[in-house]
């Protein structure tokens, strides 16, 4: 029963969806404060390469090394996000162009590739990687075993993050302030909220999440380093935030859905199931589905851009004199 296609797809959907979920949560925080960051792909790649570097170079026990790798990946993502934050918040540059610049700078042919090649990380398996956490007995339970208990610690951490971000935005003072900053920075400023500080903090937090998302790929899903290993996951994460109407709990559902789509191609191949030109169809499915869901979400009921922060993408200038 645990080998049935549906169970395997859902279980691997959860695993493959976890980096998407981390990245989407980070982008959600930045966007809720009014900063659109299209550099997710680049931040993820730098996080991925630095996390991988940590496990290759640090000689400590597995748990400690992996924890350190996640921290370093988060720091790397934060550093990347700082560039974007400085350009768009302090200098008020165009958020779209700056985000694209970040992806080019950090991305598959930029800094992440430079670091990966310079630190000689390509073509070696990870010295440490994340494995399933819970006892085998639990993992073998029918259906829930592989889906819920057969996951690594990052998956459980991501659930905590969803809850934390959800509570933060709906139940805490700073969380409500962020939403005010994203909806109407002028009003927030009048209330005495420091718009600049809030936007910086949440853009940087978004970078940290993206860095962790990248490390999830290189340390849990495919424990190795290859140039451009994220294959567009950062872009799917940005789209996810739109599907999820800027709500963390819906990010989780969407991330697992797209995770399952990514798992579909290898699963079908392993089972010798053919859908016409299999490789082409099933490989392009995550991208095509993302486009289709975007179309559905952006037309019809959601036409009023339900949930989008009103000041998303707009620099805030205080009228002082």
């Amino acid at each position: 029963m645990n080998d049935s296609l549906l169970v395997v797809l859902i279980a691997s959907g959860v695993a493959y969806g976890t980096p998407l979920l981390f990245a989407a949560l980070g982008e959600l925080l930045a966007e809720r404060s009014g900063v659109l960051n299209l550099g997710v792909e680049g931040m993820m790649l730098v996080g991925a390469v630095m996390g991988f570097w940590t496990v290759e170079r640090v000689h400590a026990n597995t748990g400690l090394t992996l924890a350190l790798a996640i921290v370093i990946a988060a720091v790397a993502g934060t550093v990347m996000a700082t560039i974007h934050a400085f350009l768009v918040i302090t200098l008020r540059a165009n958020q779209i162009v700056s985000g694209l610049a970040l992806t080019i700078f950090a991305g598959a042919v930029g800094l992440s590739s430079y670091l990966g090649n310079n630190l000689k990380l390509a073509d070696v398996p990870a010295a440490h990687s994340f494995h399933t956490l819970l006892p085998k007995g639990m993992q073998n339970l029918p259906v829930v075993g592989p889906i819920l208990f057969g996951q690594n610690i990052l998956v459980y951490a991501s659930w905590l993050c969803v809850i934390a971000v959800g509570l933060y935005l709906s139940r805490t003072r700073p969380g409500l302030n962020v939403r005010a900053v994203g909806e109407s920075p002028a009003a927030a400023d009048t209330m005495g909220i420091n718009v600049t500080a809030y936007r910086y903090a949440h853009t940087l937090a978004g970078g940290a999440f993206a860095g962790i998302a990248g490390a999830t790929i290189t340390l849990a899903i495919t424990p190795q380093w290859v140039d451009g290993i994220t294959y567009g996951a950062g872009w799917i994460a940005i789209a996810l935030v739109i599907f999820a109407f800027w709500r963390p709990e819906l990010c989780l559902v969407g991330a697992y859905f797209f995770g399952a789509l990514q798992a579909l191609a290898p699963q079908l191949q392993a089972r010798n199931i053919s859908l016409g030109p299999t490789v082409l169809w099933s490989n392009s499915l995550p991208y095509v589905m993302t486009v289709l869901v975007l179309v559905v979400v952006s037309s019809g009921t959601a036409r009023r851009r339900l949930g989008a922060p009103a000041a998303l993408g707009v620099a805030y200038v205080r009228e002082e004199h």
Partner: protein
């Protein structure tokens, strides 16, 4: 201390030139720091870079091979970005143009038509292929208001998968199926002689060939310039870019404009794809580590943004960045750090963006204490 940015009333002329120039210098300085930090000698690395880009024997010949597609991609991005339509799908539109252009070349060239006719057909087919692919995000944006940044980008991955599928995973019309080599490694079917684009060879640097595509790129730049500067279409597109509301009140037909601009942008990218096949590869390149790995379409965005969406500036910058990229390719190896070129390009773009703002604004740094009574205190900038 408090940093404030205020608008300049008048923008000095010299800044228009100084900003891009300063950005390049700044980028090389920052990259030098990265080089030193990772144990490379910046002086010798840069020396190698410029030699390989512009000075060595046949270096300009090689640079043109990179600069030609970059010019097309830069023009494609400039055409759309100018209207604030962020088509970042030039990469995929180029693949599609390569596929349709190659199909036209293989089919018509194989029937022995005159070369000029075959090439013209490849140009038209390539442009149509690119425009068609660009119209997918165009239609979605015009009719469903779907974010064109995401759709055009995601379609790049799909286009890449199609390209690989045609050569590696199927026995398509584009694939070479005869001969011993075809059984060893899948390749595209070579173009017949009449479908190969001629170049103009100059006797400098031991033979420098200017590809036909480079002339097409210049022509495309001129057409684009005329279109945006001298026609009603271009004027309306720019109004739409500056203010949607003003455009709507002026009676601009938004949907049509979006579709037209996306089609023009895609057509230029597709033409770049046809030039890729006709000028350089002479067969459809489906290798995931070949054309797809270079990412001309993404560098095109850097080209367009640095040229501030001016078509002629885009061609010039394509040549300079093409040199950089060419040098990066030829030097790639143990002694030269891979990815350095992307890093430099990214920093150039960041500093151009920042410089652009600084040239329009004045930055004032004031001590907080003198302003305590005048303005409410703002928290200091979080440290970078």
């Amino acid at each position: 201390m408090r940093i404030s940015v205020e608008q300049r009333l008048r923008r000095p002329r010299w800044l228009t030139v100084a900003v891009p120039f300063g950005s390049v210098v700044f980028a090389f300085l920052v990259a030098a720091v990265v080089l030193v930090a990772t144990g490379h000698d910046p002086v010798s690395t840069y020396h190698q870079l410029f030699d390989a880009a512009f000075l060595e024997k046949q270096s300009i010949d090689q640079t043109l091979i990179v600069a030609t597609p970059l010019a097309f991609m830069g023009l494609a991005a400039a055409a759309a970005f100018r209207m604030k339509l962020y088509n970042i799908g030039a990469e995929g539109q180029m693949y599609l143009g390569a596929i349709t252009g190659a199909a036209a070349g293989l089919y018509l060239g194989g029937r022995g038509g005159p070369s000029a006719f075959v090439i013209a057909a490849m140009v038209v087919a390539g442009a149509a292929g690119g425009a068609g692919w660009a119209l997918i995000p165009g239609v979605l944006r015009a009719f469903f208001r779907t974010n064109e940044i995401l759709t055009s980008l995601l379609l790049n991955y799909v286009a890449g998968l199609i390209l690989t599928y045609l050569i590696f995973e199927s026995e398509s019309y584009w694939r070479q199926t005869k001969g011993f080599n075809a059984t060893v490694f899948p390749t595209g079917k070579p173009l017949p002689h009449s479908a190969v684009w001629p170049g103009w060879t100059l006797h400098v640097q031991g033979g420098t060939t200017i590809p036909l595509g480079a002339f097409f790129a210049l022509l495309a730049a001129a057409v684009l310039w005329l279109l945006y500067k001298r026609t009603r279409f271009g004027f309306e597109a720019q109004v739409l870019g500056d203010s949607q509301r003003a455009a709507r009140y002026a009676g601009v037909r938004m949907r049509r404009k979006i579709l037209a601009v996306m089609a023009v942008s895609g057509a230029i990218a597709g033409l770049g794809g046809a030039s890729q096949v006709g000028d350089f590869s002479h067969a459809l390149d489906g290798d995931p580590n070949g054309l797809q790995k270079i990412g001309y379409g993404y560098t095109g965005i850097v080209v367009a943004a640095l040229g501030r969406y001016n078509p002629f500036a885009a061609v010039l910058i394509a040549f300079l960045l093409g040199g950089l990229e060419n040098a990066g390719n030829t030097l790639q190896g143990p002694s030269f750090p891979a990815g350095l070129v992307g890093v430099i390009q990214g920093i150039i773009l960041f500093s151009a963006l920042g410089g652009e703002i600084l040239s329009r604004h004045r930055v004032r740094i004031t001590r907080k204490s003198t302003h305590v009574t005048a303005a409410p205190a703002r928290a200091p900038e979080p440290a970078a």
